[in-house]
């Protein structure tokens, strides 16, 4: 938070690093929301600008990141995985070791602190895999703020453990039965709640999506991942990595780890989207590689929608990547060529999940398993002597039931 990325890296001025006044990253972003929410968004923009300029806010956030979350997270050289991949040295940025088991807590604490600062009595959130829901419920418990989490019924089925934990921490989990009963529908319901509650309620969006200023706020809070990783790799190998790989659903861990490297032209940045069961509409969630520019959930970005602008159904083995849109800054990075986005199938992600477990004794989240699968490919392509960082955005405990079910060995 304290130091903008441009002072730390050799920034290229051709890629602007903040959205413009309309919240645009190039052509993408903006605010496509009902008038009812515009005042709440304007107030949030103001409150955020004040907060990030306030040394006391930054000091407190860094205190919680360190003493409560356990930051900095380690950057671990995964030798056996590197050997398995057969190429570059793979380093894992261990966001799975954070309190609550994923990167989501970085943003949740920051946003709940902003909610508190704005005098909001209540926080709402949407969640897919449940990681952002758990992180928000955690931050709300920590600061004594009422918490309501919207979650699709299909995701509640897939992620029972997270639902139980949210409720244990005092959050209300509201099942969403509309549409595909997943993250997209949970997001709709959270917006509907906020339409009538914004006066006393802050909506803690969990990814770099939604109307301005959310994509910027979430990216800024998650950038701690990339700032640490950049400093850690410089310390370990005395040079920048050849590539950084992260999974992309809405894209928050990817934005967080990429952003501090955006100005380092020699560092390849690769996003791994959910390729699901294949390339047919409805079988994947690859918004950037298969979608088109469109409007969803308040911003202009790449979207999976039909020729009438109706959002298409998506599929991923991973509840956290099962989303038909993506953050507008990723759309911008794709179009200006700064980040390459690739599609990783369910089967590849499952295989990577198994390899990480067997080779390293690490159970990655199915979301992060997409990044590991892509890291294998990039490591082989780059070859020996090169250095690659993969963001291990979350741990896989939550996925044990679903993986066991898919293997035909249900855990009951």
């Amino acid at each position: 938070m304290t130091q903008p990325a441009s002072t730390e890296s050799s920034a290229t001025p051709t890629i602007p690093q903040t959205p413009d006044t309309l919240g645009r990253f190039g052509a993408f972003g903006g605010r496509f929301v009902p008038e009812t929410l515009m005042d709440a968004l304007n107030q949030l923009s103001e409150a955020y600008e004040e907060a990030r300029a306030d040394p006391e806010f930054v000091r407190e956030l860094e205190y919680y990141w360190k003493d409560y979350v356990g930051r900095p997270s380690p950057l671990y050289r995964a030798d056996r995985l590197s050997k398995f991949a057969g190429g570059a040295d793979i380093y894992l940025k261990r966001e799975d070791l954070n309190h609550t088991g994923a990167h989501k807590i970085n943003n949740a604490i920051g946003q709940v602190m902003i909610a508190r600062r704005m005098g909001k009595k209540r926080v709402i959130a949407e969640t897919g895999a449940g990681q952002h829901g758990v992180a928000t419920a955690t931050a709300c418990a920590l600061f004594g703020i009422s918490c309501t989490v919207y979650m699709g019924e299909e995701d509640i089925r897939r992620q029972k453990l997270n639902v139980f934990n949210m409720r244990t921490m005092g959050a209300t989990v509201v099942p969403v039965a509309s549409g595909s009963k997943t993250l997209r529908d949970a997001t709709n319901e959270a917006f509907r709640d906020w339409m009538g509650s914004s006066k006393e309620t802050h909506y803690t969006i969990g990814s770099v999506v939604g109307p301005h200023p959310f994509p910027m706020i979430v990216r800024d809070f998650q950038s701690v991942i990339g700032r640490e990783a950049r400093a850690q790799i410089l310390e370990k190998v005395d040079r920048l990595p050849d590539a950084v790989v992260a999974c992309v659903g809405g894209g928050s861990n990817a934005a967080g780890i990429f952003y501090p490297f955006i100005g380092d032209a020699e560092v390849e940045l690769v996003g791994a989207e959910a390729g699901g069961r294949g390339g047919k509409a409805g079988d994947h969630a690859s918004s950037l590689t298969q979608g088109k520019p469109g409007v969803l959930h308040g911003s202009f970005s790449y979207v999976l929608q039909d020729d009438d602008g109706q959002t298409q159904d998506v599929h991923s083995i991973s509840a956290g990547l099962d989303y038909p849109g993506v953050g507008p800054e990723h759309a911008f990075w794709k179009d200006c060529g700064r980040v390459r986005y690739e599609s990783v199938t369910d089967a590849e992600a499952l295989a990577a999940y198994g390899e990480a477990a067997r080779q390293e004794g690490i159970l990655p989240a199915l979301e992060s398993s997409h990044a590991i699968a892509q890291a294998f490919k990039e490591a082989r392509r780059l070859g020996a002597g090169k250095v690659l960082i993969a963001c291990l955005s979350g741990r896989g405990d939550k996925d044990a039931y679903e993986v066991a079910r898919l293997r035909g060995e249900p855990l009951g």
């Binding site: 903006g30 605010r31 009902p34 005042d39 709440a40 509907r192 006066k199 409007v295």
Partner: protein, 275 residues
């Protein structure tokens, strides 16, 4: 003259308020939508808002969201909706041909179809204006310009959460009429409307010469009657759409009669249609 301007000029001369029902195009099917539009006009509707079904309507409550979902599940496409309206404009009776029609449409749809194409197709279908509930004024300059070129009105919304200086700016950028949203929240019937609603609308009246129509939360003859003293028009959506919820399983004539009777009761509460 645009039919919306003509309507409000005529109502002003007659000292009447507009009754403006909303219905989802394609729920339960487009043939029924066409019959319903004619029935609504016959029973006292002055202007119709045609909801273009959208998959992710964040401003809508469960009644309209479910209605959109039913229509989309039927396979209704924007092209089919425009075709239905075009036919009505060509073949309906004089009252139907002269009643203003506006589309309520998400910018997701307008953007994907392309602004020019959407507006051209809407104008050809005989629409007189549009409401794009997820396009705030900051993002609407281009659509406004292109709509005006085709004599289509772009109706903007002002809500209880809109600061007054911003409300004045929105009023300046609106054409046709101002849609005043009665409550901070999503669409859907409310037993009670905010106490300061009339006061807020009365204030807005001092800032603009455009007609002001109130929508969201209004569903009973009593509410319509009550608000007639401050508004130029009353918009009724969920209370009508709710009556379509199980329409697919009922005789169409029963559904049309029920909806018609409901609108008739609202029209009566406004003093009945002129002649």
């Amino acid at each position: 003259m645009n039919r919306i301007d003509a309507l409000f000029a005529r109502l002003k001369a007659e000292n009447r308020r507009a009754l403006m029902p909303f219905l989802t195009a394609g729920d339960p099917d487009l043939a029924t939508t066409a019959v319903l539009i004619q029935e609504l006009v016959r029973r006292g509707a002055d202007l119709l808002e045609i909801g273009i079904p959208y998959s992710d309507p964040v401003a809508d409550g469960p009644v309209i969201a479910a209605s959109y979902h039913r229509a989309l599940t039927q396979g209704v496409r924007v092209g089919h909706i425009f075709q239905t309206l075009r036919t009505l404009r060509a073949e309906g009776d004089e009252a139907v041909r002269e009643t203003p029609l506006i589309s309520m449409v998400s910018y997701s749809i307008v953007n994907r179809m392309g602004v020019e194409r959407y507006l051209n197709d809407a104008a050809t279908a005989g629409l007189d204006g549009l409401i794009v509930p997820d396009l705030p004024v900051e993002e609407s300059a281009r659509l406004q310009e292109k709509a005006t070129q085709r004599d289509l009105k772009l109706i903007q919304l002002i809500t209880p959460t809109t600061p007054r200086a911003r409300a004045v700016e929105i009023a300046r950028l609106t054409t046709g009429f101002i849609y005043y949203v009665s409550v901070a929240g999503i669409t859907g019937e409310r037993k009670a409307l905010p106490e300061d609603l009339k006061e807020n609308v009365a204030w807005l009246r001092t800032q603009t010469d455009l007609p002001i129509c109130i929508g969201f939360g209004i569903g009973s003859p009593e509410q319509v009657h009550e608000l007639a003293s401050v508004a130029d028009g009353l918009i009724v959506g969920s209370a009508l759409v709710r009556r379509l919820a199980d329409a697919a399983n009922r005789p169409r004539a029963d559904v049309v009669k029920e909806v018609g009777d409901f609108i008739g009761s609202l029209s009566e509460a406004l003093g009945g249609p002129a002649n």
